[in-house]
């Protein structure tokens, strides 16, 4: 089954979440780390937007910035706006912001064991969110917790609400996390590597569950992941990040078919892809295409295009000047001086 939700975001509809020129810096002894450096994007109702990139590219910091959960010091959101349904979150005071977290925007994390409280029952952890944001009694909140566990298809929910995280399997814990995140019916769900710690068959279950609940509840999802397979199967639009910046953005089919940034190309080429299942004939193990080098330290970014030192097509202009982030094809943006020459990215009418 194609796990992607069939809901097509209405074109031109007002964006639910608008992020404009977000800049999150960390001020360290080694210098200023521009973890997120001018990231803009819009999220529409019911849509799944994937943010992909390698560790350190700023995808998780982008997510935490939306919730204003950046540890300060050393971190600070130094610029940009984040508007949820037209309201600027950056100007809210802390109590108002607390009202947004878990209520309007909630988040699930990669490692359910470390993000759940080990000495609190699952039921109380779900009820806690509900009690915080809704005017209900403890009893009602616990009843809602059971309901949420049923929604995320945890068997015997009446039993499970009384259990502790360690009594649940990894997949069940992630389901419990999703139950907590969705307990207040948020408009936006940020899923930060939600299935990375899980087994494939469990990952398939969790992705199916997220898509199903998204359709049922109309939640918009920001899916942060490094797994291009997960992106291909769940997202509608994709942002590729590298060293704190957006390097490419396109609808998912477009991105996989016509990647316009050498980094995206490299990523797509470097993943092993079950070739035999796709009918290819190579019985002897083949070398994978590598992207040479490592992601540069954010304290010591190169001049010009940050990908240039690892890019086999880089020329003098790339090393001198950061390329503009431009629309190269319909709905397809990239920051590369040479994409037209390399991939024929002339804007199609």
């Amino acid at each position: 089954m194609d796990a992607r939700a069939d809901v097509q975001p209405e074109a031109g509809a007002q964006a639910l979440l608008e992020v404009d020129d977000l800049q999150t810096y960390f001020f360290t002894r080694q210098g200023v780390v521009k973890a997120v450096d001018g990231v803009s994007f819009a999220l529409r109702r019911g849509e799944t937007l994937a943010i992909v990139g390698e560790s350190g590219c700023g995808k998780s910091i982008t997510a935490l910035s939306l919730l204003r959960l950046i540890p300060d010091p050393p971190g600070r959101i130094v610029g940009g706006t984040v508007r949820l349904a037209g309201h600027d979150l950056m100007t809210l005071d802390e109590p108002a912001m607390r009202n947004v977290r878990g209520n309007d925007i909630s988040m699930i994390f990669q490692e359910p064991m470390t993000s759940l409280n080990p000495v609190m029952t699952i039921g109380r952890q779900i009820a806690e969110v509900i009690l915080l944001h809704q005017d209900v009694s403890r009893k009602e909140a616990l009843a809602k917790a059971v309901e949420m566990l049923r929604l995320v298809r945890i068997p015997e929910p009446e039993q499970r609400v009384r259990e502790y995280p360690h009594q649940l399997s990894g997949g069940m814990r992630q389901r419990a996390m999703i139950a907590i995140a969705l307990a207040c019916n948020p408009k936006v769900l940020i899923a930060d590597e939600p299935t990375t710690a899980l087994d494939v068959t469990i990952q398939a279950q969790i992705l199916e569950l997220i898509v199903e609940l998204q359709q049922k509840l109309g939640t918009a999802v920001i899916l942060i992941t490094h797994d291009l397979g997960v992106v291909a199967e769940t997202a509608q639009r994709v942002i590729v990040m590298y060293a704190g910046r957006k390097v490419e953005e396109a609808p998912v089919g477009e991105l996989f078919a016509h990647a316009l940034h050498p980094y995206t190309h490299g990523l797509l080429a470097s993943i092993p892809r079950l070739d035999l299942m796709r009918g290819e004939v190579n019985d002897t193990p083949q070398r994978l295409q590598e992207i040479t080098g490592i992601v540069p330290a954010l304290t010591d970014l190169p001049q010009g295009c940050v990908f240039a030192p690892r890019c086999k097509f880089a020329d003098d202009r790339c090393r001198a000047q950061y390329p503009p982030y431009e629309q190269k094809r319909s709905g397809h943006w990239a920051a590369c001086w040479n994409s037209d020459a390399l991939y024929g990215g002339a804007l199609h009418a």
């Binding site: 089954m1 469990i202 035999l276």
Partner: protein, 336 residues
């Protein structure tokens, strides 16, 4: 490289089967003790009768979900955990019952690379000392020679000599995994067990490490037991694949057979669960429901029957044997 280090314990006694590793009906049951008298009240059937072999220069991919016992298999082979039953042969020598002292020469022949390069390296040791430690432990060469060997190993795995005095935190994840690989290579082993060696790495770095492992295998004729949950990676690096479920092998065949005509329903489910990085491909997914049952109380009969969409009554009572369906494809399923 490092030919002087190459161990040949009991040279000449090998059976000459060409197998670096032979595992026969391997079992590991962990006792569960409870109460004041620590009486054994049950067992965790972590590994329950596993048989396979690995030739020099060959990679066996051992796949399965967490808790299926695949890591325990790796550790039992190294005798980091004592097996309950079965036999382990390294280069034809049975090491199952050897004493600690007798094990020492064999320890040099088998090494392990762990998943998490962040927790498997001692943060207080320099990278050079980490890589050189096995040489010291086994008394190989003098201090000065060892330093040269370590430098060679650094270059072998794509690190710079100049980085030998750095500490683990000064390296990136991929580089740390290279340190782990260099350390594993230090004693010139015949077999390397990789326990999810690339799972914690970024995709572009993962490709570098996989390529490094494949190059090393080609040059040094290493046998690999590659333990992973990532089927795409396993497909890429392996020659043969063993699929494990709750302590037992459910399917064992060469790579092509497993990926083009899987016969066990669990293998089928695993393959169909892998997200394909191509939005143009629409597949019918076989999403199996439920979790892996507890290995403390494995279901009777075929362990997979609780989640298998095709299970019949026989599956609930009778354990299916691993049968050859032709062409060396071994499958444990009543319905095939």
């Amino acid at each position: 490289m490092l030919d002087d280090v190459k161990p040949k314990p009991g040279a000449g006694a090998a059976t000459g089967s060409g197998n670096v590793l032979e595992v026969q009906d391997l079992k590991k049951h962990f006792p569960i003790r409870k109460g004041l008298l620590r009486r054994t009240v049950g067992h965790v059937y972590a590994v329950d009768g596993v048989t396979f072999s690995i030739k020099a220069g060959e990679t066996l991919g051992l796949v399965g979900e967490s808790g299926c016992g695949k890591s325990t298999v790796g550790r039992v082979i190294l005798r980091l955990i004592e097996p309950t039953a079965g036999s382990i042969k390294v280069e034809g020598h049975d090491i199952t019952r050897l004493s600690k002292a007798e094990m020492r020469p064999y320890r040099r022949q088998m090494q392990i690379i762990f998943q998490d390069p962040f927790s498997s390296l001692d943060p207080r040791m320099t990278a050079g000392n980490i890589v050189g430690e096995p040489l010291g432990v086994h008394g190989v060469g003098k201090r000065r020679e060892r330093r040269d060997q370590v430098a060679q190993l650094f270059e072998r795995v794509g690190l710079r000599r100049g980085q030998m005095d750095n500490y683990p935190h000064q390296f990136s994840g991929g580089q740390r995994q290279r340190i782990g690989i260099a350390r594993a290579l230090a004693l010139n082993p015949r077999l390397i067990i990789g326990d999810e060696p690339v799972s914690a790495l970024d995709v572009s770095i993962q490709a570098q490490v996989i390529n490094l492992l494949m190059d090393l295998q080609r040059e040094l004729g290493l046998g690999y037991l590659f333990i992973s949950h990532n089927l795409a990676v396993v497909e890429h690096i392996s020659h043969k694949i063993a699929v494990m479920y709750l302590g037992r092998l459910v399917e064992y065949a060469d790579k092509r057979t497993i990926f083009t005509s899987p016969k066990h329903p669990y293998t089928e489910a695993l393959l169909s669960a892998v997200p394909v990085p191509d939005p143009a491909i629409k597949r019918k997914k076989l999403v199996v429901q439920g979790d892996v049952p507890s290995p403390m109380r494995p279901p009777p009969g075929c362990h997979f029957h609780t989640r298998c969409p095709y299970a019949v009554d026989r599956c609930k009572v009778e354990v299916p044997a691993l049968r050859d369906l032709g062409g060396g494809q071994l499958v444990a399923c009543h319905l095939r």
